[in-house]
């Protein structure tokens, strides 16, 4: 692909939905006029280096597209930290991650209420995570801003990624989705067959029984797995219809996070089975529960990060999509 076209296609990636064709056509004409003007003055065609220099002067595709979204707002903390070109993307990232966090916390609060026990500190947790996201997003975008400034005169349009996307055929999509449904169904069958994992772990754990936290986690995995069937089922029925599919994944992960977090909050996955209480079994249960907090806590954090990232990407694609588009 010609370096100019590659550049323009990269600009298109970040432009506001519904206006890309018009803006890219105008930009193409302006770049072409500039190249021809320079060629006319030099009396020869521009070398690739010279064409690259013309594009470099236009600015990095992300910044160019950002200018078309900009309302002039920027973040100034003593000095400009995030400029008007990046600020629209910073705002989108904050809104998407904030909304996702809010939804996940609502899930967790609801699941905690259903589970009973200690009340979930919703507002304190929300303020903490929103402040954390604000800090992380500010750092990331301030870093990006600094990087764009430092490389303004040296970045290379030839290194921009090729943006032509190959859409898989409807048959390939259907086959992939059917295999996914099959694998998920197999997992569901096994999961429903094992409501009490301790029975399968042998006589060593015969003094223990599943606690309320295990039942929460069990339900969470079950509900999340059933919800995860929505996306492949939609693909089998309507491979071309791809809007808002990310929402199904988001709810599936959200349900898992909610129940897993509620189960961590409860903390009792296994309990001593014997009455009167056996000290050794109680010690074993304490150790297993502590291990579960660590392991499941890590799983929840990783799933939450992936879910937030997917939600940001999904929201971004919806944001870019023309209003008239239905596929």
């Amino acid at each position: 692909m010609d370096v100019v076209e590659r550049y323009l296609e990269n600009v298109r990636t970040y432009l506001p939905g519904g206006k890309e064709d018009d803006l890219v056509a105008e930009l193409r004409e302006n770049v072409r006029a500039q190249i021809e003007d320079r060629e006319g003055r030099l009396g020869r065609p521009l070398s690739e280096e010279e064409r690259v220099a013309v594009l470099r002067a236009h600015g990095h595709p992300l910044l160019v597209a950002g200018q078309y979204r900009s309302d002039g707002r920027r973040l100034v903390l003593g000095r400009e930290v995030i400029g008007p070109s990046l600020f629209p993307f910073f705002r989108i990232a904050l809104l998407a991650s904030g909304a996702t966090t809010g939804l996940v916390l609502v899930f967790v609060a609801l699941a905690s209420t259903i589970a009973g026990g200690r009340p979930f500190p919703f507002f304190r947790t929300a303020v903490f995570y929103l402040a954390l996201q604000l800090a992380i997003a500010t750092l990331v975008f301030a870093g990006l801003e600094a990087w764009f400034r430092r490389t303004a005169l040296t970045w290379d349009p030839r290194r921009l990624p090729a943006t032509r996307r190959r859409t898989p055929s409807a048959i390939a999509l259907r086959v992939g989705a059917a295999l996914q449904i099959l694998a998920t169904g197999l997992f569901l069958w096994i999961w429903l067959a094992v409501p009490d994992p301790l029975r399968f772990l042998g006589p060593a754990l015969s003094d223990l029984q599943p606690g309320p936290a295990w039942r929460l986690l069990y339900l969470g995995v079950l509900a999340s797995t059933v919800l995860s069937l929505v996306t492949p089922a939609l693909t089998v029925l309507q491979p071309a219809w791809r809007r808002f599919r990310w929402l199904a994944s988001f709810f599936s992960s959200g349900v898992f996070i909610a129940f897993a977090a509620a189960s961590i909050w409860n903390g009792a996955w296994v309990l001593p089975a014997s009455i009167p209480l056996d000290a050794e079994a109680a010690e074993l249960a304490r150790g297993l529960n502590a291990g579960m907090v660590l392991g499941l806590g890590l799983a929840v954090v990783v799933t939450a990060i992936v879910t937030v990232a997917q939600a940001v990407v999904g929201a971004w694609k919806e944001f870019r999509r023309p209003a008239s588009s239905s596929a």
Binding site: Q34, H58, G59, Q67
Partner: protein, 107 residues
């Protein structure tokens, strides 16, 4: 810090001036690159990534009108100032003249 401060203030100073210059230049119809050259020829170089989005913003605000038209067998988007834009430009120029006169007296 001194350089940063100067750069910030310079940008502030330029931002408004560029808008006035663009509106004034577009009393005659231009397409994007021709406008950029015309401004540059008058001594006001404006970066591409500032000028082209600015044209769209001014159009959205109703200060410019534009149309795609063929010229030299190429389709180009031509911009010119709208009636609202002209009225606003008149007011901005009056303001600018007042500021300029005051600055002259101060300096």
């Amino acid at each position: 810090m001194g350089d940063d401060l100067f750069e910030n203030l310079r940008m502030e100073l330029r931002r408004g001036s560029v808008i006035v210059a663009v509106l004034a230049q577009l009393r005659t119809e231009h397409y994007g690159y021709a406008l950029r050259k015309a401004l540059e020829d008058h001594g006001l170089a404006v970066d591409e990534d500032t000028l082209y989005p600015l044209l769209r913003r001014l159009e959205t605000q109703g200060l410019l009108v534009s149309e795609w038209r063929e010229e030299d067998r190429r389709r180009k988007r031509f911009y010119r100032i709208s009636r609202n834009g002209q009225a606003l430009l008149d007011r901005l120029l009056a303001e600018w003249r007042d500021i300029n006169a005051a600055l002259k007296r101060i300096l």
